[in-house]
Amino acid sequence: MATPAPKPASTPAPGARVTEIEIGALSKTFGRGAQAFRALSDVSVSINRGEFFTLLGPSGCGKTTLLRLIAGFEQPSGGTLRIGGREVAGLGPNQRPVNTVFQNYALFPHMSVAENIGFGLRMQRRPAAERRETVDRMLRLVRMEAMADRRPTQISGGQQQRVALARALAPQPRVLLLDEPLSALDLKLRKEMQSELKRLQLETGITFVFVTHDQEEALTMSDRVAVMSEGRILQTGTPEEIYNRPADRFVADFIGDTNFLDAVVQDITATHAVVRLPGGARLAANLPAGGGTAAGATVTVVIRPEHARLVGDSADGPADEGAVLSGQVERSVFFGTDTHVHLRLSDGTPFVVRRQNTAAATPPPEIGREVSVALAGGAVQVLRN
């Protein structure tokens, strides 16, 4: 039986947030008894209509499992899952207004490109004229008009990828699920498909739930990112929030390079704290959402290498302006656009400063030199314990 055609997801009015997927305390356990394995525990998140939402985490953290629960290939062990306001527990994949782009594309080998794209519409028993019209539009959308009559084995990997996308978009689902769709492509094609995906998402206004283990891909493409580890969501936020205000050691470590320091909380307000860094400097620091620390507590703080600067490194400014840390240069690593200067702080902690390589830049300080480090405003982030 074909499900009634899902309504095309209308683009929400600017500013208006409509929840498309509501996940509450979802869990999934595979196997029974001694072999039971908890792939997801207590996952709660809401995904907005028209959003490019990314699940980011290392291999085996449960991203695919969460996607399969949303698609209906697996049933949850507990919790709630609502799509478009409707509880979908117990509904099969053919009864959910959700389509998937599979990692291996899973194109039907005995059908042409056009037949593949039209398959969902055919199963929904849409009229032939509408089907033809939609297939043509989809072929244009993914720039595959010339290949309509080819078999999947007669087109390249990148083209198969685009057909898989068109096939999943053709029935105009409320939500498109993409499980690491770019991981099989080489770097150049991957970059191309990243912007292609972004374009398709903006043009169709469909909610995308995208899975990747590549943090750069997640940061550049997403409206919001959920960072996962060991079956849990550790933090959800915009790429900027995730990058600049990591709540947790795992998130900070998984995304970008960062420095970890021990600090002591001196004073505390709702959102900020004053912390004492090793070496004695006292600085304002951002608290994670939910706070959870108190004056006198020892906490871990993170400082991104690009938010730190070597004092007296530029021609202007007095030699000791804003210096909060000091240490000895251990080595410098050249990365083209910038150079990483690795320091050993006076208390023995390693610390990296990123130095932009402008045309006028002086060479980095030589190994063994004593240097001071200044920090940009808001650079210090306190982590949840």
Partner: protein, 275 residues
């Protein structure tokens, strides 16, 4: 370079294809296999009623066979039985193959596998005797003595042969294809009808062809199960050869051979077709 070629030579001297006497044995095997068949075919075109002296080319014996009402009758019965039994066997085998490859492993799966393949292990004579006794009991109870017994016996015997190529085909098929169909709003039946079935079809046809040849060829089981007037081509030939030997038998056997070769060729072509 010299070292390499020496190593190469040493490897070659160990090669099984170069063992002394291997060629002779292979040749003898081929002679044993094909000379009698070639002789049979050649003498089917003999103008004389002799199996040993060549009296010129003629189609007399083919004409005789075609004009023999009994031959026509048993041939049609054999073909009908092979088509029906192999068709039924293929259907059952397809369902069995789906159940053993498309569900998560269940208790007793290996057992089922063994049960399906039972006819490959049990001697045909045993199956024949068992069916004879079993069907005799049914006959006494119901009074039915039609072709049903032969159909059932041949179907059961053909199932494992039809099962193997279908299972092989299903095992190479990507499971995500069916998942993708379900994701695109296909009901389980539609996914089967539009995705699984077309992709497994070459395996199903191969299974049918193999079952067809097996049914056409089987003598022992038919001999035990058949009622009076239910001779198939092979049992008829056996009966005739006991009485008199004429090249008419050669002609029938040659036609029979041609049919089998065609069916087996179709089987190989289909089972080698890529998924």
């Amino acid at each position: 370079m010299r070292g390499a070629s020496m190593a190469e030579r040493r490897v070659r001297s160990f090669s099984i294809t170069r063992l002394p006497g291997f060629g002779v044995i292979a040749l003898a095997t081929f002679v044993l296999l094909y000379v009698p068949i070639v002789t049979l075919v050649v003498f089917s075109f003999n103008a004389q009623a002799s199996m040993s002296t060549w009296g010129g080319f003629s189609l007399t014996w083919y004409e005789a066979a075609f004009n023999n009402r009994q031959v026509r009758e048993v041939s049609i019965r054999s073909l009908w039985l092979a088509v029906v039994a192999s068709g039924l066997a293929t259907m059952v085998a397809t369902l069995a193959a789906l159940a053993t490859t498309r569900t998560s492993r269940f208790r007793g799966q290996t057992m089922i596998y063994a049960l399906i393949n039972q006819p490959l292990m049990v001697p045909e004579v045993v199956t024949g005797v068992a069916l004879l006794i079993f069907f005799a009991a049914i006959r006494v109870q119901t009074g039915y003595s039609g072709m049903g017994y032969l159909v059932i016996a041949h179907t059961a015997f053909c199932i494992p042969f039809a099962y193997l190529p279908i299972k092989a085909r299903l095992e190479t098929m990507d499971l995500t294809l069916e998942r993708a169909a379900a994701d695109l709003y296909a009901s389980p039946w539609q996914a089967f009808r539009h995705i699984t079935l077309p992709l497994v079809m070459p395996g199903v046809m191969a299974g049918f062809m193999l079952g067809f040849v097996i049914s056409l060829d089987t003598v022992v089981i038919t001999e035990f199960v058949k009622a009076a007037g239910q001779d198939t081509l092979p049992t008829y030939m056996l009966g005739q050869l006991r009485r008199q030997v004429t090249p008419e038998m050669n002609a029938i056997a040659t036609l029979f051979l041609a049919l089998s070769v065609v069916a087996v060729t179709i089987f190989f072509v289909l089972s080698r077709k890529r998924a």
